[in-house]
């Protein structure tokens, strides 16, 4: 079934998953040494490690599908922003701890639904990577949802901060749930779930936690964004400049 799909389409789809995990993992890594408490520093670093590990598995697979000899490092470090296909939400700056938690919660809830569905993908390799990532994502969501409730239902200050973050980041969520031609092609082949089936599950889960956190769901987001098609906000380029600096300045450098 999957063999009838053009390799270029499969490559692009796997890259979307890989880049979202990679970019989010890199963002969380920026917290190392700066988190509000040692425990949260460790937690964010651990989640970043899981995400970068998932990205490595996915990038290696994407490189094999492409068949042009690019490995995980070449794909991570030697592409420019327009070639990255992560969803725009993942690249948004950390801001304060509350903003990072809001971004993480929205994406954890989405990755959980996505990986749950992908674990049954017609693409066997993708299915096994998703089954592994799913276990880790459940853990991530417990952390981010737990903190969102503590901050939202916390002090007036913490409530105001996560409310602002939610209002600022909500507009990027439409991209997670709106399919484009590639998403539809993958769904038709049984590789990926139709995003329409993810929407009510994601919305339900998010609504439940927002209610417990005494936070109001922002108004519907109209702008779909296009990160997964390579059209990014200005933040990704800056992040990549830092992430890719060393391997580009010293090609082939080893520890």
């Amino acid at each position: 079934m999957t063999s009838t799909l053009p390799a270029q389409a499969r490559f692009r789809y796997v890259l979307r998953l890989a880049d979202t995990s990679l970019v989010l993992g890199q963002r969380l890594g920026e917290w190392v040494g700066h988190a509000p408490a040692l425990e949260e520093d460790l937690a964010l670093a651990n989640i970043a490690l899981d995400l970068i590990g998932q990205a490595r598995l996915l990038l290696a697979y994407a490189g094999e599908i492409e068949g042009r000899g690019r490995d995980e490092d070449a794909l991570a470090f030697l592409r420019d922003a327009p070639q990255f296909c992560n969803v725009s939400l993942a690249e948004q700056p950390n801001g304060g701890f509350g903003r990072t938690i809001v971004r993480q919660f929205l994406l954890d809830a989405w990755q959980l639904e996505l990986y749950e569905a992908l674990a049954g993908s017609a693409d066997a390799r993708l299915a096994e990577i998703a089954a592994k990532a799913l276990k880790e994502t459940r853990y991530h969501l417990r952390f981010s949802a737990g903190w969102l409730v503590r901050l939202g239902d916390g002090t007036a200050e913490s409530h105001a901060r996560v409310s602002q973050a939610l209002a600022a980041l909500w507009r990027f969520t439409e991209e997670l749930l709106t399919p484009d031609a590639l998403d539809e092609q993958m769904a038709a082949a049984g590789v990926a779930p139709p995003l329409a089936t993810l929407r009510p599950r994601w919305e339900g889960r998010v609504a439940e936690v927002l209610e417990e956190a005494t936070l109001k769901r922002p108004e519907a987001a109209r702008h779909p964004w296009h990160g997964k098609r390579g059209v990014h906000t200005e933040h990704l380029g800056h992040m990549l400049a830092e992430m890719q600096h060393l391997p580009r300045t010293y090609p082939g450098a080893r520890w």
Binding site: E39, A48, G53, R56, E128, K132
Partner: protein, 164 residues
Amino acid sequence: MVTELPAAQPGARNGREEGVWQVLRTVMDPEIPVLSIVDLGIVRYVHQDKGATRVGITPTYSGCPATEVILGAVHEALEHHGLRDVIVETVLSPPWSSEWLSEAGRWRLELFGICAPSAQRPEASCPRCGSRDAELVSEFGSTPCKAHYRCGTCREPFDVFKCI
């Protein structure tokens, strides 16, 4: 196709396979040096495939930095014991579960000061004083596989092997 073993249970093995298992029992997790990779449950199979012996290793967590160190240590240990023509493969499916820890492994972890709950005995208890009055400090600890707790009785902090 070889049957996937839930943990390192003895099956019908030929002499060479048994020899490989014995060497693997001496390869320790670099982060938890009392635990062999066999007790950790990450060795999925050892089997003969024509001239070569295939060893399947599964990572505990996708991003665990110990995985590469372990793969290197496996090669080194086998070579050191004169076992050549061994192919070490990374297996992803089924994903690793903390239920694959052996009983001996759980016991060694407790002695080392790490609580290792299981599905039958899910609650955390203090590895120092045995108290069940344990409080979760953070779901994430010093390595991807551990969470951080504090004992309400002796007040000492301790690690708990996460159940996944």
